[in-house]
Subunit: 494 residues, 2 copies
Amino acid sequence: MTTTDDAAFAVDKSGLVRRLRLFLPERCLLAEEEDLRPYECDGLTAYRELPLVVCLPETEAQVIDILRTCHQLAVPVVARGAGTGLSGGAMPHAQGVVLSLARFNKILRVDPLARLAVVQPGVRNLAVSEAAAPHGLYYAPDPSSQIACTLGGNVAENSGGVHCLKYGLTVHNVLRIRVVSIEGEVFEIGSEGPDAPGYDLLALLIGSEGMLGVVTEVTVKLVPKPELAQVVMASFNDVAKAGDAVAAIIAAGIIPAGLEMMDKPATAAVEPFVKAGYDLEAEAILLCEADGTPEEVADEIARVTAVLTQAGAGNIKVSGSEAERLRFWAGRKAAFPAVGRITPDYYCMDGTIPRKRLAEMLSAIVAMEKKYGLRCANVFHAGDGNLHPLIMYDTAQPGSWERAEAFGAEILELSVALGGSITGEHGVGVEKINQMCVQYTTPELDAFRRIKSAFDETGLLNPGKAVPSLHRCAEYGRMHVHHGDLKFPELERF
Amino acid sequence: MTTTDDAAFAVDKSGLVRRLRLFLPERCLLAEEEDLRPYECDGLTAYRELPLVVCLPETEAQVIDILRTCHQLAVPVVARGAGTGLSGGAMPHAQGVVLSLARFNKILRVDPLARLAVVQPGVRNLAVSEAAAPHGLYYAPDPSSQIACTLGGNVAENSGGVHCLKYGLTVHNVLRIRVVSIEGEVFEIGSEGPDAPGYDLLALLIGSEGMLGVVTEVTVKLVPKPELAQVVMASFNDVAKAGDAVAAIIAAGIIPAGLEMMDKPATAAVEPFVKAGYDLEAEAILLCEADGTPEEVADEIARVTAVLTQAGAGNIKVSGSEAERLRFWAGRKAAFPAVGRITPDYYCMDGTIPRKRLAEMLSAIVAMEKKYGLRCANVFHAGDGNLHPLIMYDTAQPGSWERAEAFGAEILELSVALGGSITGEHGVGVEKINQMCVQYTTPELDAFRRIKSAFDETGLLNPGKAVPSLHRCAEYGRMHVHHGDLKFPELERF
């Protein structure tokens, strides 16, 4: 069984439960349908599946025993953090176990001198910064879901956030992880130093979407809280101008602490909800943060303002207080729920494109809105070229989800055609697995499959996610577009 | 043949040459002993081996044909850049081909807007910065060998340099690579965006020491040249104080563009050679660079000076001109050749340790100097905790090299015992392969071996380097020390 094809698994539930009960106390094992229901999906609610059982281990020894048991009985295992993921990476397997790390919620150590924290994978992202705050330190990656999402999930998805332009993704902020293999072997990878000898397994494991091992401990870098941070909010009467302004800021040698863009539909959804003070007349707004010493911030704000003015910004407003700065960001961070208030359902995409192609992508999305008869609000980590179009649909309407899904697939495939990629920070999961056939060539996908086999020969860890089978790519049957060579006849109009 | 044991290869040289001549012009194939001699070692001259042949391909098609041929005939392949590596990563295999990328020396594209350059692997590190200079940009990683070393070699070893504390190692500055597998398959990994979907093969390949594939093209990030850079030179009458000053600078939230330390034997060797202006009375000097806008630099220099004074620095001197700044660095960058002038041979080590253990390591090295009857000059990338002790020996003296080798091994094993690692930036190669058995547990080494098989099942790419066989670790027979747990009886005196 070296396939990830679902048909390959046929598990005897009662036998599995009996085996798990040998070492798991009752509170750590859910097997009744009403208990399993809350686990049927993650943040990508369009895809749902009930698992056979949910395990909630409390010790690493239990994690090892669960994985050994599943390995012996050939049972799929889906690890789960807080379930806030947006690509279905934690969607259960119908023949499998959900291994929730929710009870691994201890901060084991904060070492302010070495600037690191050792935490269990079920610790919430924001809790790390809260624990580090008394030392003037914080954990930099800040996904919008940071109140709820966990470090284990962040490691699985290589999560970013609005500050990752300057401070990096999860992979740049994790020093070491402790991992249990599907065979129940424990290994630690990474080091507290700048590099570790041997292959870079740390980077390989981070972002591997639960396909290579289960993380039981994470050592993260802490960084000093900047003395000051200020945000510039700039309005543009044209989205293309806003896109060009982003490129101009980066071209001026400025690396802002955050550089975000929202279009008019997005600000219109947010403003009544958050009252962030956004310019509702603007076709697009940019939020650009500077942080550092007061002198550095003043200097950077002056340079950013000059570039924005030159790029044709209308209103430019600099946050006058920490409260105002947080309000500017609150609007951005609440964009998803705000859009959720004005539409029954929305579908959040996560493509990346070269910054200079932002304007092109936006015009294409306008054309797609007409083609699919659906509205789309756009929120971007603009500095990274990472797009989060929010496609609004209504599951109650027949065909609405199918159109949203096709709309999303077209955005992703255009991202690849423009020289970008199908995901910036949300992972591939179950959602973008077909587009992996578009993003990569056969030898490249084959390299992924060989890596998978090297860690999980029988394909039990999160089957059906992230890395498509040969068979799936053949079925998907789309032409391959690689590094910006446009080969989709249907996309050539853009 | 899934072993890296040398005995496993038995190659018919004339048959191999005949096959290679089918597609390689005469100028691209060396097979006579006098032509092979220059390739017998890299920068680690203590280890030498003549290869069967050296191939100097000029096109990617030739690289593919060479690899396919070697795969068919079961011939080991050692890829080689400029041969400046310090761990023997490019040391030939007696039964193998050296694949030199020296003729892949073109800069294919410099894109100042996207801030990147696409180069062939034989391009010299410094040549990238020279090509980017007209746009006010440069390539950040700057190994001391940057005049000669190539991007391909930098990728293989994940090279650093004096500025990597702030600007990162090669892995942080490479966006995409094009790789040929041992089977002759071409794949591109990475993207111009912040992240790429699927496993992070880019990070896996960078630093893989030619064991997983042969790189034929590298896309690197370019960064803006800072408006100004200045170096503070500080003298200390005690190496322990200098070590603590390093920790204090980092603890103050300053990330200098470079933070280097040299002890008295190192400055004594350098000063007559370079006339850098170092304080020869000091037991240790620190060099700390600030870069950015003039305001940022002035601010950082003031903060660094305050911390250094507090930490007990004697003389503190700030570079007054660009010429003086370059002279300060010239001394540091020439430290290796300068030591080479005062001893027949030297052996450069590359351990890393937690910054706070610098003073401990230095006392231990003093004790080892007595134990082995050899002198040692110490040059450190202090900000990273990356040590480069230069052990002086004389191959003409019987037993001198053996003592140097044992001295080096003891430094590396103590690095691990102090919570560090056996290599910071020079790679494992042939030099530190035994210490890999000390650094890692059996399941960890096993994960490395499975990665190796996933890319190179028959073990033809650079056999005998970086990842030790099970057999080798059994032979080496030392106790395992992991993440600072001290288990070497002979080290317990430190």
